[in-house]
Amino acid sequence: MAVEFRKDLFADERDDSFDQIGQPRVRQDIEGHVTGRSPFFDDHLFDGLLHVRCVRSPHHHARIRSIDASDAERMEGVVRLIWPRDIPRNMNTLLSLINFGRDDEPLLAERKTAYVGEPVLAVIATSVQAAQRAVAAVRVDWEVLPHVLDVEEALTPDAPVVNDEYPNNTFDYHDRYDHQKLRFGDPEAALARADHVVEGTYQMSPIEQAPVETCGAIAAPETNNRIVCYTSTQALFFSIGVTGKLLEIPSSRLHFIGGTVGGGFGGKVDSHHEPIAVLASLLTGKPVKYMWDRAEEMQAGAPRSGERWRIKDGVMNDGRIVARIFTGFFDAGAYTRLTSYGVQKCTGHLPGPYTIPNVASNIFCVYTNRTPSTAMRGFGITGVDFAIECHMDKVAERVGMDPIELRILNAYRDGDMKAHRRLAKNCALIESCQVVAQKADWRLSPDAMAQSSLAGGGTDWRAAIPETVTDDEGKIGERRRSGLAPDPFAGTGQRGRVAAGTFSDHPATGNAPQRDDMIAEASRLGFKVDTGAPSAPMPQAERPVAPPAPPPAAPPPPTAPHGSQGAPTLPSAYSEAPPAPTPTVTPPAPPPAPASTAPEPEPYRPEQPFQRGVKRPGVSRFISGSRRR
């Protein structure tokens, strides 16, 4: 299908010519692909290659009473077994590499399993067939436990505990809440004055990435006491870090080779093959391959999470959406892979590409006895976009409006304030709607056709951060004790009000850039720049940009004290404990020592095992390096 460029749109914002996109270009790796010589991880031959297969749980949730592998151990071709006790540090979470979340997942389960297909024992054998037969000969005495497969059932007080590290079946956000909050304006008040309240529930099943090349790794002894590892990973440095951490060996001993991936789509990030292959090679002194077969890829491979959404809109008769409240559930499965982070991405995306002055969301990363879920193509965004766009159609039907015109009416325009307190720029939804309507011979009103993303945005309320109602409902553990409903403002907890114009430095809510060199420069992105314009993204002129070295304390918010509801008001739900100091607020708990006051880190010592997080002065612990200029 021919690509059509609409260079007429936003023409004065670009000085490019679009002379590459849509043109046939020869891929640099294509010759290897068409000759069958591209070096995928399994395309490396080793004499005496050993193979690994795992004994896996057939139950959703079960305690391991005992494992009898005596027959398997004696079978022809079996070299040795890997037990959980053979793994030096048998507990990890993928995002511990950026200090996000706690270690909650063993490489091989020792006490209990929490999903079908969870590995408990690995067999190293001279052939795949021998390994498979040995796996079949291992007898595990399972004590089957009650399980939970539904995200909302998992939140109920009686639900079985899926993951001992998170006994409330929810990931902990900001060491405080069992969900990720977004609060912007006063959605309850706006709903009360709306002409219509439109509610909907939407759901998306997990999706397996299903790369044609299944996940795997080959590890082999190398010279100088190193191990070489050919891997299908999409995330080579995750894989090195995870392997170094679980096996407690310095990454300087790990020679990882990747980069030729037979399809990943997010499913080759989780780094489970490399540590097992490397450990097996260390234990046997031989080259070892651990590669999933197709059935393992589909059953035990982490998919995109399932999601459930409830959306409640306040809509005026003319189609303006004045409030939107989300309750979202992401099914993390049994352990934390990347879904906890998908929730963060999602929160930054709400309420979709629409300028809505009152928005709230509660999003839960829920543990269930299903396969752990991870990254896949737009994870965190795709599911909620499906929900939002279905809901837009429902709203259009309710107010009797053309669904495309409803979108144009509510679309972000340049300069509008988004719910996560950044200004919308380079908006193009209106133009996209207009072009789609034209292509589909869908007649739009002259007024809708006359709209533009460049016009009408950034005016008064559209550019403002409104006074925002906050709450502290859903603290960690509270829901399990009280059966609190998951929806925003569902409880009777105390409300706070944060004055208009307030934003915070909370890294998870993605406000001001942490470093000045992280501000994207429009000119570098190919946009024409108005030379007089300030490059800072925030409209508040006095917004101080965080200096390269962390300040001794967070700067006070540039706004008035909290609203007029009287003391004691509660801290903003956006603020990390401790909240930004304000004259009237007493923090509810003594603040933990902020990261910025931590002592200088030890000098870099490559012989040390991998340590959690990045701790270098002046660098956010969420950022693993500074941008090149």
Binding site: R25, R37, D293
Partner: protein
């Protein structure tokens, strides 16, 4: 465990190697013979990444018992090029951007070779049917179909 000697023709050359009992042709070609061009994707004949030609017919090497090729002619994507000179199909795949991750490509090429060997003038539907057993999870099917049609045009032009 006793291995089975297998002698056959591979990409026009005599070849011989020992097969493990019950070994499939894919493992045999990759590990015992050293032709790494056919790929493992499923081990159950559903993805097509391991497609090779046996006596001109497309076969899924993962569900073919290795020793059944004794005395037969096997062709793989590794043998399509004549030294540095690429086959027309390979050229067309390059020109039409018909590979993304590249993992399904050897199987696609062999399915397409089987088609063009029999039908020099395939319709678009013929091409779609011919690669119907080959999965491209990058979902780049359209450029692949375009490339195969392009190769068929080049083949006719040269004939």
């Amino acid at each position: 465990m006793s291995k089975t000697p297998v002698t056959f023709r591979l990409n026009g050359e005599d070849a011989a190697a020992f097969a493990d009992p019950g070994s499939n042709l894919l493992d045999f070609l990759r590990r015992a013979v050293g032709d790494l061009s056919p790929k493992y994707g499923c081990g159950q004949g559903t993805c097509g990444a391991c497609t090779v030609l046996i006596d001109g017919e497309p076969h899924l090497s993962c569900i073919t018992l290795a020793e059944t090729v004794t005395g037969r002619e096997v062709r793989t994507a590794g043998g399509l090029a004549n030294g540095p000179i690429l086959d027309r199909l390979q050229e067309a795949f390059i020109d039409k951007f018909a590979a993304q991750c590249g993992y399904c490509t050897p199987g696609m090429l062999m399915a397409a070779t089987a088609l063009l060997d029999k039908n020099a003038n395939p319709s678009r539907q013929d091409v779609i049917d011919a690669i119907g057993g080959n999965i491209c999870r990058c979902t780049g099917y359209e450029p692949i179909v375009d490339a195969i049609l392009e190769a068929s045009r080049n083949t006719r032009g040269a004939a």
